[in-house]
Amino acid sequence: MMPTPGNSNRLDAHTDWTFADAAHLLRRAGLGATPQEVADVLELGRAAAVERLVVAQPESASFQQANTILRQSAIDTNDVDNLKAWWLYRMVHTVNPLRERMTLLWHNHFATSYTKVGSIPAMLDQNDLFRTEALGSFRKLLHGISRDVAMLIWLDSNSNRKRQPNENYARELMELFALDVGNYTEADIQEAARAFTGWHVRQNKFWFNRSQHDAGTKTVLGHTGPFNGNEVVDLCLDQPACPRFLAVKLLREFVTASPSEPLVASLAAVIRRCDFAFEDVLRELLNSRAFYAAEHRGVLIKSPIDLTVGTFRLLGMQPNLDAAVRVNADLGQDLFQPPTVKGWDGHRTWLTSATLLQRTNFVAAVARNERFGERREADLRQAFASGSRRRLLIETALAANSTEQTARLTEEELASGRQQQQAWLQLLLSLPEYQLK
């Protein structure tokens, strides 16, 4: 059953709960799922399904073992590609996909690149911070990132000195991290930069260099006092622009690329009410009518991570992570190496004539069991066992309205041959609708 139009601005609870709703939830809030996982979530009911996403679930022993050795290997080898592979492993195999999605969201929000930082442990620590606070408090996150070693290196904080303030961090704090353009002045940036003087890195740790800190009086965002960095962060969080800015960010990630003003205002109010506790905010958003509204289905363009990790999860694969790292970089989302301080623009910029061709090549390779590891043969046989199973695979893979358009995929008789099954799968994954979520 398709959702009823007209609910697109409402954050009150959605009432229906269908296979398509469950698949939508796992595509948008998770990182993709197999038809069986969608069926399991359907069985749980909407509220319980959302609860399972927002509340941390225990990871398997195998996951934890792999997580440990991949993480350690990235540190030991000092190879950023191994770090990327570690994170991709988490995304593909975690039972907490919303946490990884939010970690990715914060990685893009507080975009920091290894290219300049040059330290695997520092990038790892930052990523851990994003994950710890992925569904936690944005307050803690903003305070944490202000003292994060990778961020301090990235924005040249060691050159932010009492008599020669460096405005990089103060500027990005207001423009990109908390307020957005138009909600502060150049004078606010200059004054805030003074508050962050002396926030340095020493021996790979945060160090408050008291001798380089400007303890004088500053005026920031209409308030005057001998502010330090923590106080400036709090001043930013107190601004009405802050929850609005975050509401737009969340809605563009989970609901629509162009959120309406009422929807932004509603979600901003929720964020303020929850005091930036994102577990509560997301619980409300993922249960809302707006999230499941018909006009919001299939309107977001999949990011490279959505496409690759989503495909691996859809097909239950244990992929070759090295190949996955390379293809994501080729498709424009090179983890730990975002292009600028603004991160990836996302949405329509993900698709170019070049990346669309590369996306098609990627799904073709997966369908043919090339480069990215083999799908388990038993799983493949099960997925194609009957027309109804194939229909479930289609409904899991494609966003709203796609099932009707692709009815021929299920209606046609499918021979049991392996090659024909691969061709069918390639056709499914090559559909334009598969680029959307």
Binding site: S62, I69, S73, N78, G118, N204, L321, D322, E374
Partner: protein
């Protein structure tokens, strides 16, 4: 000395005249080109296996060779001839070996055994064993365990060359027993019983394309009827000349390697194959290291008259060799072989993992790089020279650097104890060292010292940028030799230090040798060898040697188990599978003693040998 009637030119019937002259046909060209490539590439493929330095094995039992010569049963000179002896002994040894049996206990084998392919293979084996009435090991030993000869000959009456396979089985009753079991199966195919006018002989034709005959303990398969009857006529008279002379006579190759006291001896007439196939063997390589080490193989394949492959082995060793002869590299302007000076054996330092010793005169090879390398690789040489110019300003590599050095270079890898750290790196690399022979020791040593100092300075800047400990260049005297080394300003400490802390560069000059290492201890150990009475041992005529020691490799693997497991997980394995793979590799390494690969060049004969020893 009696000798069977083997005509110089085979003429068993008017319809099948001399076989010596190669009839060149397009299909034959493809076939022979493939064969030539196989023979040429065999040693390259062997490089995939790591290798040691033992001599080729000789088997005691094969000294008692039968007096009858298998080669008498072939009518003319073959293009390719291969003969095996005593395979039953090898099969028995393999079946009983711990190495083989340990492979069967690995989870990987178990997984394959239970896979679709594994189940099919075992089903096929069961059917075969049921049909033959014995297990495959026994059948293998009885069918091909005694003497087998295979010949490929030019065929003027057909587009395809002729082929003959001759097998001498253990005894008549064994031959008949297998015949009785196989014949009903052949009845299902389109076979025709033939009536050959030879005593105690039975013959069949399979669709007129394959002729099978038996006589006593002999089985003959041939692509032409007259070839089969030729062999069957002669196979009963098991007396004749000495073994080696007959093989040499048959193949036209007089060489100590062409003797049948081996598990396998194969000879290919490269000249005839080339004439028949006219293959285009490119001389230009696409990789500088491959060109330096093996570029001459292409030339040898183009110019040599014969290729010889031999396999020897017994209970705990195996030696595979391939040689080509008849081409003189010495006249080529790019020749880098320096057989007159020989090659150094790998110094036996403590904890040796492996080493590569090379004897090559780099100057002519480097000067001829535009002829020897593919066009697209040449810019890499320019990049190399530009990069080197930053470290050695004002020096040209070809004209100022290369002449300072002698032809012998040795690369070493050995376990390290990390005296320079309080703790261990997360990835534990072996210590590396290179021993360079210097033609002009004073000038070369100055140049290398400058190189060492400049490199240390550059790496120090990088270390500072990355927040690592910088190096301080220091020195010590060891065995009267000054060792210059770079120590860390503060001793790095920690359980899983960054991998860059594997390196503590050190260098020393000992007479005409200069040592550069990634560890001070390895540098000291090499100095000990160089200062010892025997010094570096020279192997005459040797051009290349690679050897590996499995026990130290096994220790290294164990030290880096976590990193290797991570690599396996990244490639799509589960953590459990990764651990199983590592365990299996360790298990195999425990059974292997050493592996070596070496090459020699002497008087127009090039030989490459792969030796393996196991416990």
């Amino acid at each position: 000395m009696s000798r069977p009637n083997r005509p110089a030119v085979f003429s068993p019937s008017p319809s099948a005249r001399p076989h010596r002259a190669a009839q060149v046909t397009p299909r034959f060209r493809y076939w022979s080109l493939a064969l030539l490539c196989t023979l040429t590439l065999l040693p390259l493929a062997a490089l995939e296996v790591r290798a040691g330095d033992s001599e080729p094995a000789r088997t005691a039992s094969t000294r008692d060779v039968p007096t009858f010569e298998l080669t008498h049963l072939f009518p003319g000179r073959p293009i390719v001839y291969a003969e095996t002896r005593d395979l039953k002994r090898a099969l028995d040894q393999l079946q009983d070996s711990e190495f083989y049996n340990s492979l069967l206990t690995t989870p990987q084998f178990d997984r394959w055994r239970n896979s679709k392919d594994g189940r099919k293979a075992y089903a096929g084996r069961t059917i075969l064993e049921t049909y033959l009435g014995t297990d495959v090991w026994t059948a293998g030993g009885e069918l091909v365990g005694d003497r087998v000869g295979l010949a490929v000959m030019a065929n003027e009456s057909s587009r395809m060359p002729s082929g003959m396979l001759i097998v001498r089985m253990a005894d008549v009753s064994t031959t008949n027993r297998y015949l009785d079991r196989i014949l009903p199966l052949l009845e299902l195919a389109e076979i025709e019983q033939l009536d050959w006018d030879l005593p105690e002989t039975r013959g069949w034709s399979v669709r007129g394309r394959l002729f099978v005959g038996t006589r006593g303990r002999w089985v003959v398969l041939a692509s032409q009827e007259q070839l089969a009857t030729f062999a069957l006529e002669r196979c009963q008279s098991e007396s004749g000349a000495t073994v080696s002379s007959e093989l040499a006579e048959l193949t036209g190759v007089v060489d100590e390697r062409v003797q049948p006291a081996r598990l396998l001896t194969a000879v290919a007439d490269l000249k005839t194959i080339r004439q028949a196939a006219a293959p285009e063997i490119p001389l230009q390589a696409d990789n500088a290291v491959a060109s330096l080490l093996f570029g001459h193989l292409a030339y040898l394949a183009r110019e040599s008259s014969h290729a010889i492959v031999t396999l020897d082995g017994d209970a705990d060793q195996l030696a595979l060799s391939m040689s080509m002869q008849g081409a003189d590299l010495a006249n080529e302007p790019w020749n880098s072989f320096a057989p007159a000076v020989g090659n150094y054996a790998t110094p036996a330092v403590p904890g040796l993992v492996g080493g590569i010793s090379l004897s090559r005169d780099l100057a002519p090879w480097y000067a001829s790089r535009e002829e020897l390398m593919q066009e697209r690789t040449l810019p890499d040489f320019d990049k190399f020279e530009t990069g080197l110019a930053n470290l050695l300003p004002g020096r040209d590599f070809q004209h100022d650097v290369l002449p300072l050095f002698g032809p012998r270079i040795t690369f070493l890898a050995a376990r390290q104890e990390y005296e320079h750290l309080d703790g261990r790196p997360g990835v534990q690399l072996p210590a590396f060292a290179v021993v360079l022979e210097m033609a002009q020791p004073d000038e070369a040593a100055d140049l290398l010292t400058l190189f060492f100092q400049t490199l240390s300075a550059i790496l120090n800047i990088q270390a500072g940028q990355a927040g690592r400990q910088p190096w301080v260049v220091s020195s010590e005297t060891h065995q009267g030799v000054q060792i210059t080394y770079a120590r860390y300003l503060q001793k790095p400490s920690g359980e899983r230090l960054p991998y860059v802390y594997n390196f503590m560069p050190a260098s020393a000059r000992v007479g005409k040798h200069f040592v550069i290492g990634s560890s001070r201890q390895l540098c000291r150990d090499v100095v000990d060898v160089l200062q010892s009475e025997s010094g570096l041992t020279t192997r005459p005529h040797q051009g290349f040697q690679l050897n590996l020691h499995s026990d130290t490799i096994g220790t290294l693997l164990a030290d880096n188990a976590s990193a290797l497991s991570a690599q396996a997980v990244r490639s799509g394995r589960t953590p459990d599978e990764a651990q199983e793979d590592l365990n299996a590799l360790q298990q195999i390494l425990q059974q292997i003693e050493s592996l070596s690969l070496e090459s020699e060049y002497e008087n127009g004969r090039f030989e490459i040998r792969l030796n393996g020893n196991w416990k």
